[in-house]
């Protein structure tokens, strides 16, 4: 059996060699790492790529995004597999902070969701407000055959928003989602929009993805309702709590947050997509909130995305970085 | 005289079958011993045990004066080699095949080159070094296998039916090589054979084997005389049959070999005899034809072996006869298994052994 001993030794040695070499290369040549889990809609618009380039030009940190959808993103953060969270679901974010997994939340940007649908507008929602539009879509769907609504159907921020809108309009989500006119895509935003385009149905989309696909000519849906209070979409960043998850890259996460709220990045956010799509896909939020004006949009953001009257309650702040909150 | 190898009470079992049963055999150094026996008698197993690629289930093997144990088992292989009945070659060149064993013995490259060309010349395959071994004809392949074994110059050489599938020309080259190797290098050779001429002319001694047991052992002439019956009943040799001879008129002896077959021979003998007809003396035809030959039998082809330019057939005329015809004749006559044919041979071709 001496030969078999030799064989096992060789196999084990080479395996360890390859693994160690690839790990070493990965760890050594890539500078310190920062992993941020985030939503697919942020990623699909390409904003994160732009942000990454700007960030890496300034800091020697290897920034990586894990675009898995809000629900998954939060789970990854809870498992300590990522260093920071960049999502758009205030209710879930609140729970995340309350369970002690995150600190230092900062609201960095906002835009609006939009209810889009076929040009012919069979349900006649044009000109209505969000709630009215929903009621019309339900009525139309119940009285005609075919699919009238496509939902994300995953646990994304967009899906969470959709569910809250149904509730606000007075419908039971569990019941409605079973009805024959209601389709569930179970996919990312692009796929969902494509599906709605195919079916000639309505759907809820973030403005960024919608504009991108519309400009590319992929879809011919029209954005009927947007920029209302109910359709507000707020993006926040949260660092994973180092006390609870000691292995995360906390200092780099803070650096990332600081970058996001910096003037440079906020300007990048404001300008993103302007030339290509004729309008920005995202609006910066930091300056707006700092000035604390009485404008309508600030009020809306406070109502929707603040927790106990602030973007980050003091018990979830890290005292070492007071400069994050003025 | 010292013994090259000795089997003491060797028994070998496989999956409930006893291949060898209490075999005692002494092989003298420098002799050629022929093993004669029917198929399934244990010849191949015995050779494999002597080649040290099988271990006995019971009993002892002694080799070159030493007892073979677990410890020295693999080392013994270096001084004993076997050529299998069905030729096996490595998927590579003739050179690499022949050189394989030399490589195992850590021979230098120059020396290997020398030895390979020497042995290829011996088996009349000069210049075949670079050829793809698997693409050669049957006869050439067998010679490569033989060369591969010979080049190792082991003390013991084991051959399992070395010329069974060869055309006569190649067969005689091989027999020549066997004789030369034994004579000049004093290699001890044990060979299993079915061939009458080989059994008579090549070996110093013959050992009969049946059902895993060794019967008579002795020099060919003695053995043949004493045991012609046994040999025939063994079906140990081709075209050899037992029968009762009766002298009839005109100097012809008629031998009843059973199943209604009466062989006519010019030799005078009576009583129990063993007769033999060489395959080359038998004429095969599809129709009965008139001739001076006294032995004409009808039968069916039961076996066909392609030897390249020749085809060897077994025809059952009541007893199986081995016959040889040219490939051309085979194709012209459009022969197949179960084709009905006629065998014709002269009374003077029949030998009594």
């Amino acid at each position: 059996m001496l030969m078999w001993t030799k064989v096992i030794i060789i196999a084990a040695a080479v395996t360890v060699l390859i693994i160690a070499a690839s790990l070493a290369y990965f760890r050594y040549f890539t500078k310190t790492r920062l992993l941020v889990s985030t939503t697919t809609s942020l990623y699909e618009t390409g904003l994160l790529n732009a942000t990454e380039r700007a960030f890496e030009a300034k800091y020697s940190i290897d920034l990586g995004f894990l675009p898995v959808g809000t629900g998954q993103a939060i789970q990854q953060a809870q498992g300590g597999n990522v260093d920071a969270l960049l999502v758009h679901s205030p209710s879930n974010e609140t729970q995340f902070l309350q369970e002690g997994d995150g600190v230092c939340r900062k609201i960095i940007a906002y835009n609006f969701f939009t209810i889009v649908g076929p040009r012919s507008d069979p349900a006649g929602i044009n000109g209505m407000d969000a709630m009215g539009a929903f009621k019309k879509i339900v009525d139309y769907g119940r009285n005609h055959t075919g699919r009238m609504w496509v939902s994300r159907g995953d646990s994304s921020g967009t899906h969470t928003k959709e569910k809250s809108l149904w509730a606000k309009a007075g419908y039971s989500y569990t019941q409605i989602s079973m009805e024959s006119w209601y389709a569930s895509a179970g996919s990312g935003m692009s796929a969902t929009l494509n599906m709605a385009n195919e079916f000639g149905s309505y759907t809820l989309s973030d403005i960024g993805t919608y504009l991108k696909l519309s400009k590319d000519g992929t879809i011919s849906l029209v954005a009927f309702i947007t920029e209302t209070k109910e359709l507000l979409n707020v993006y926040s960043v949260i660092a994973v709590n180092q006390t609870r998850h000691p292995n995360v890259n906390f200092t780099n996460a803070i650096t990332f947050i600081k970058f996001l709220i910096s003037d440079e990045c906020q300007q990048l956010i404001d300008n993103y997509g302007k030339s290509e799509y004729g309008q920005s896909l995202f609006r910066s939020a930091v300056q707006l909130l700092m000035q604390n004006s009485t404008s309508q949009i600030v009020q809306w953001i406070k109502d929707y995305a603040f927790i106990n009257g602030t973007e980050c309650p003091s018990e979830y702040r890290d005292n070492r970085y007071p400069e994050l909150y003025n | 005289m010292s013994f090259a190898a000795e089997l003491r009470n060797v028994t070998k079992n496989f999956d409930g079958i006893t291949a060898l049963d209490g075999v005692n055999l002494k092989i003298q150094a420098g002799e050629i011993m022929a093993l004669l026996g029917p198929n399934g008698s244990g010849k191949t197993t015995l050779l494999k045990i002597l080649a040290f690629i099988e271990k006995p289930s019971k009993g002892e093997v002694h080799f070159l004066g030493e007892k073979v144990t677990e410890k020295n088992f693999e080392n013994m292989r270096m001084e004993s080699t076997m050529v299998f009945q069905k030729t096996i070659l490595f998927s590579t060149t003739v050179y690499n095949n022949v050189a394989y064993g030399l490589g195992m013995r850590k021979t230098s490259k120059n020396r290997i080159d020398e030895e390979v060309s020497k042995v290829l010349r011996l088996v009349k395959l000069d210049g075949f070094e670079k050829r793809n071994a698997k693409k050669l004809s049957g006869g050439e392949q067998q010679r490569v296998a033989l060369a591969r074994a010979l080049t190792l110059n082991t003390k013991l050489l084991l051959l399992d039916e070395p010329t069974a599938n060869l055309d006569p020309k190649t067969a005689s080259i091989v027999e020549e090589v066997i004789a030369t190797t034994n004579r000049e290098l004093k290699t001890t050779i044990v060979m299993a054979t079915h061939n009458m001429f080989q059994a008579k002319n090549l070996p110093h001694r013959i050992a009969l084997i049946k059902d895993g047991k060794i019967g008579e052992v002795g020099p060919p002439t003695e053995t043949f005389r004493n045991l012609s019956k046994t040999l025939a009943s063994f079906a140990a040799l081709e075209n050899t049959f037992n029968g009762t001879a009766k002298v009839t008129e005109n100097g012809i002896t008629s031998v009843d070999i059973g199943n209604g077959l009466q062989i006519e021979t010019t030799l005078q003998q009576s009583g129990t005899v063993s007769v033999f007809v060489s395959p080359e003396d038998i004429i095969l035809s599809k129709n009965r034809f008139d001739s001076s030959a006294r032995n004409i039998y009808k039968g069916k082809i039961i076996e066909i072996s392609d030897l390249g330019s020749l085809v060897r057939l077994k025809v059952d005329v009541g007893k199986p006869f081995a016959v040889q015809i040219t490939k051309r004749s085979f194709n012209e006559m459009a022969l197949n298994l179960n084709t009905e044919v006629f065998l014709t041979f002269k009374a003077s071709s029949v030998q009594i052994i």
Partner: protein
């Protein structure tokens, strides 16, 4: 029209040597290549035992490996994700999650059954007397096994290629243990998915073309080599 458009843009991307596409391709080759090598290092010895030795339970072991060939990549990927999870997984402390290394390990596990099964078959198909032949020419057990392996080399080679194809074309493992972090763990397959999600059809098509070309090209080259040998 969009597909044709995408196709043209894709070819432009490929031939202009777009660095991102190059990086993704090289990483895919390295990851799947390493996985195949590791799987072969462990798989061929196992296949040799399965092919040569007749032991009790051999049939059972062969059947297990054969059925493992079809393991759904998402199942394996998810299972490995749980194991490598930084805090809850038993191997989390290794910090392998979301690294190319994790993908290498995952894909190696994925293709190992392929190598074992195919190589074992190739070895079984070798004339059993080859081992005896080698021994009678002076080989030890080990050397005789090598002789058998050498005769089965064609089949073993094929096993390696089949494994590489499976590794480079799989998605489930790469997604779960690699994430598809751009510039870090993005592979051809996850890249295609990501780009389609982001509606960058031209990049997706480019990656798909490369993947198909690689797989087809490698197979073609190998078949040619085999033919020339015969």
């Amino acid at each position: 029209m969009e597909i044709l458009d995408g196709l043209i843009k894709a070819l432009q991307l490929i031939f202009s040597g777009d660095p991102r596409i190059l990086e993704i391709t090289l990483r895919s080759l390295f990851v799947s290549g390493s996985a195949t090598v590791i799987a072969a290092l462990w798989g061929i010895p196992i296949a040799t035992i399965l092919g040569l030795k007749n032991f009790r339970g051999r049939f059972l072991v062969k059947t297990i490996f054969n059925s493992l060939i079809g393991i759904p990549t998402v199942a394996l990927g998810f299972f490995l994700f749980l194991i490598f999870s930084r805090e809850k997984g038993p191997l989390g402390f290794l910090g392998l999650l979301y690294t190319p290394t994790a993908i290498i390990i995952g894909e190696a596990i994925l293709v190992a059954p392929i190598i074992v099964s195919l190589a074992a078959s190739a070895i079984e198909a070798v004339d059993p007397e080859i081992a005896n032949l080698a021994k009678t020419l002076g080989a030890s057990e080990a050397q005789a096994s090598f002789a058998v392996l050498r005769e089965a080399l064609d089949g073993i080679f094929l096993a390696g290629i089949a494994s590489f194809n499976r590794a480079i074309g799989e998605l489930g493992v790469a997604v779960f243990v690699g994430g598809f972090i751009a510039g870090v763990t993005e592979l051809l397959t996850t890249g295609i998915k990501l780009e389609i999600d982001s509606n960058n059809i031209d990049v997706a098509i480019a990656l798909a073309i490369i993947l198909l070309t690689l797989v087809f090209g490698i197979n073609l080259a190998l078949n040619l080599i085999q033919r020339r040998k015969k």
